[in-house]
């Protein structure tokens, strides 16, 4: 599904160049829920931004469903972001001027595809039911809680049935209760809709719901950890893994 090979990315600060990603390779299978963890500056957000096509990179390849994204032009990239990727941001990024329902249908409207637009309203209702936000469909973002906003963002991300859902610290701005509701939404998306999820997070609790966690350190993959089946054990293992990383 998603394949990253030998990805390299540097930032120029003044005259000095800092290599943030030092040849990262990883793979995400269809229907898999993968969490990326690591300390600040390890390159997880940069990795996500490269995959999301928000920033370019110097070397390596990113392949989504067999298509290399670095060969695509601006318009094709935009179309790919709209149809094949779903995004969940830390700051929700909902349009304050649109109701919850209209925020959810927005990706379909942007696609300008007749079938998607015609089915959008029904689909929005279904997604709202799935994520337990039907009661706030006609409300504006300013009128709902942070947890609800993020669940609306998840529903919006799934509007066009993307190949992959990319999430950047989805629980970063939320309290534990709201964070849990968002993670539940991710799990539901994976189980009910068979969504592939690639999530960058600091939160070991959120990561413990994933199938697999990739730990990054200094721009390289430090370790990959499979979920043994028990969430609590996996969270302990993740904490231990992160602990060993810092030593």
């Amino acid at each position: 599904m998603l394949k990253v090979e030998e990805l390299r990315k540097s930032y120029l600060v003044g005259k000095k160049s800092y290599e943030v990603l030092k040849g990262i390779s990883l793979e995400v299978k269809k229907g898999e829920f993968v969490a990326v963890m690591g300390p600040s500056g390890s390159g997880k957000s940069t990795l996500l931004n490269c995959i999301s096509c928000y920033i370019g990179y110097e070397a390596g390849t990113i392949t989504l469903d067999g298509h290399k994204i670095d060969t695509l032009g601006q318009e094709q990239l935009a179309a790919m972001r709209n149809r094949q990727m779903g995004f969940v941001f830390q700051d929700f990024m909902l349009l304050d001027g649109l109701t919850v329902k209209n925020n959810i249908v927005l990706p379909a409207v942007i696609s300008e595809e007749k079938e998607l637009i015609e089915a959008a309203e029904q689909k929005a209702k279904k997604l709202c039911e799935t994520f337990g936000i039907s009661h706030i469909m006609d409300k504006y973002p300013a009128e709902i809680s942070g947890g609800e906003k993020q669940r609306v963002a998840v529903a919006r991300a799934l509007m066009n049935d993307p190949l992959i859902l990319l999430a950047d610290e989805p629980t970063g701005n939320l309290d534990s209760k709201s964070g849990r509701s968002v993670i539940d939404a991710f799990v539901m998306a994976k189980e009910k809709l068979h969504t592939t999820i690639f999530m960058v997070t600091h939160d070991s609790f959120a990561a413990s719901f994933s199938d697999r966690a990739i730990l990054l350190q200094d721009g390289m993959v430090f370790r990959e950890m499979e979920n043994p089946g028990d969430r609590t054990t996996f969270q302990d293992e993740l904490l231990a893994g992160i602990g060993s990383m810092n030593r």
Partner: protein, 696 residues
Amino acid sequence: MNINQIFYMLRRKNIAEYILYMICTIFSVAVVSAYALLLFSPTVMEVLPVGGDSRKQAFGIFAVVCIGCLAFSMYASALFYKKKQKELGIILALGGNRSKLYRTVVKENLRMSLLCLLVGLLLAFPLNKGIWGALSLFIDSPEMKLRVELPSLLISVGIAGIVLLSTMLILRRIIFRMDLLDVIKAEHKNEMVRKLPKHTGLYGVILILAGGVISYLAPGVYMDVFSEYPPAWLNLLYLIPLAGVYLTILYAVVGGEKVEKKHYADMISKSIMKFQGRQTVNCMLVITLLIGGGCFAAFYVPITMTAFGTSVQAKEWNYQYSYPQTRDVFEEGQLEELVKKYGAQIQEEKDFPVLLAAKDGMQEIEEGRKFHYEYHPRMATVHLIKESDFEEFTETKLQIKPDEYYAITDEEEIARFDPDMTLFSNMETREEYPVKFAGCLHHEDLVLENSRLYLISDALFERIDSTLSQEWKETLCYRKIANDSYQLATKVYEEFCRCFEPQDMVFCGYDRVSAIVACEAGQEYWAAAPEFQSFSELSPDSPEFQREWIYMPFFKIMSLQGTLRNYAVYFMLFIYVVIVALVSAWLIAYTRCVTIGMHNRYVFEALEKLGASTAFRQRELRKQLSIVYKTPTCIGLVVVLLLFVLILYGNDGGRFSKSELLGLLICVGIEAVIGAITYVCYRASVRKVSLLSSFH
């Protein structure tokens, strides 16, 4: 559903922002259009002579207004779309196509802009008519004409087109150059200003004051030292006070390094401002310049009008005119008959002779930018009256020695006179009469508009008079007419002009003595050049003729009316600059405050979580917002007032006249009004930001 419907919904939800943006654009178009309508109206075109400095000045002001309105519109567009940037960024982040999004936004903007253009153009008419009508209440003159001219409409449409084009460019830049990561991480971006040395604020104030005085005095000092006209680069000295303004604002925003007693009291507000530093300082600098510019324009008319008003009001004789004795002006009983016809009466009359002689002096000789002075025994014409006529006219007694002369000036000695003459000459016999300056005599009625009278003893007067033909003699007439009217004055003026020959229609810059001396030296006299010859072709009714004719009579009612009309034109020209500058300043300050408030919402949320009361948070908010208004307003108002004080003080050789003090008092009143409106805007900003920060 489609993207247009999404935009419709967003518009509906953010209607207040759309309205504010549209008001800004309508305001710009309306002001430029109204100004253009006014500038091309017949009255203004008649008042401002073709090729004259005042016309160039008016077009210069118009250019400033256009640039100001364009800058204002572009600022409003940039601000509006900066606020919309997040919406556009989200649409792009979700896979929106930049080109399609650009087309959609342009379409939306085009509809709005065309509406704004139409409303702005339509509003320009009542706006112009309103200002014109208000002035017509005070000036009842049939010559005040307002007509819509094609060039004004074309300029309005052109300006609206440029506004539209600039908005498209801003939009293009925003959409095609938008970094999506900037939008996603926008909440966490800050632009901090580094720490400042301890006395930055003090240095700023010193630079403003010292730089202001230096840049004002520098041209004069340069001319005295180098005997050369100052070069253009000397204007760069004005950068010193500007740097002072910048430092003072910077200090007001981020404070100095010192830890003062009030440090903890201002800790929150100062910290917040520091993190918004660069943009806030830039905005405040622009606000200062706009308020200063607005004040400068607002002061022009009161300062000049008070000087004119007091000098005219002080004259007791309402009719004064002079003519060469070679002409027959008003035949026997002609004036009396005319006055009677208009229901008026001549109460008192006085006529006395004036001799025209040559005076000596130092003449400025220019060689490129360099200049020097040369002594000339016959430099220019001098108008002489005799002691006994003065005594009879003023009912005073004088004792003038035969080799002395007095200068006649006004009470405050504003009207300039020459105290350095040592020699009078008869231009026909070339006989010379050594003289010395004995002092000044004050009489408002004997202060003439286009020449200065000097008083000599009867003995000297007779000596010159006996050898002088009528060619070098004039008669000066004074009348006190009761029940005077504007109609009578214009009729008398018409008859007066009819008594002159075409060769008498020369402008006041033409000096007979200088012309003769230049001719004798085989040189071309500058005022005899062809471009000045066209003066005689002007209609006596034209403002340019009435302003510059050498024999232009003083008819009090006509002079008041004509000058009021001229000032009304200048007032109308300047009022737009005042409106544009001040409204822009207030709007920029308001939007800056809202931006600061929005950026720092989380600080107030954190303060609330830490248990800060609403009153405490309000106080912190007021402290930081007041800086945005207080500092630029204080600097702008004080600096411009000081500048006018300096100019008026320097103009009269280091003193103030009563009329100047009155003018300055009016300026202080104007500043009080500007200050009050600024305070209202500040309160509105506090209320808006309080609402945004959910203080209530």
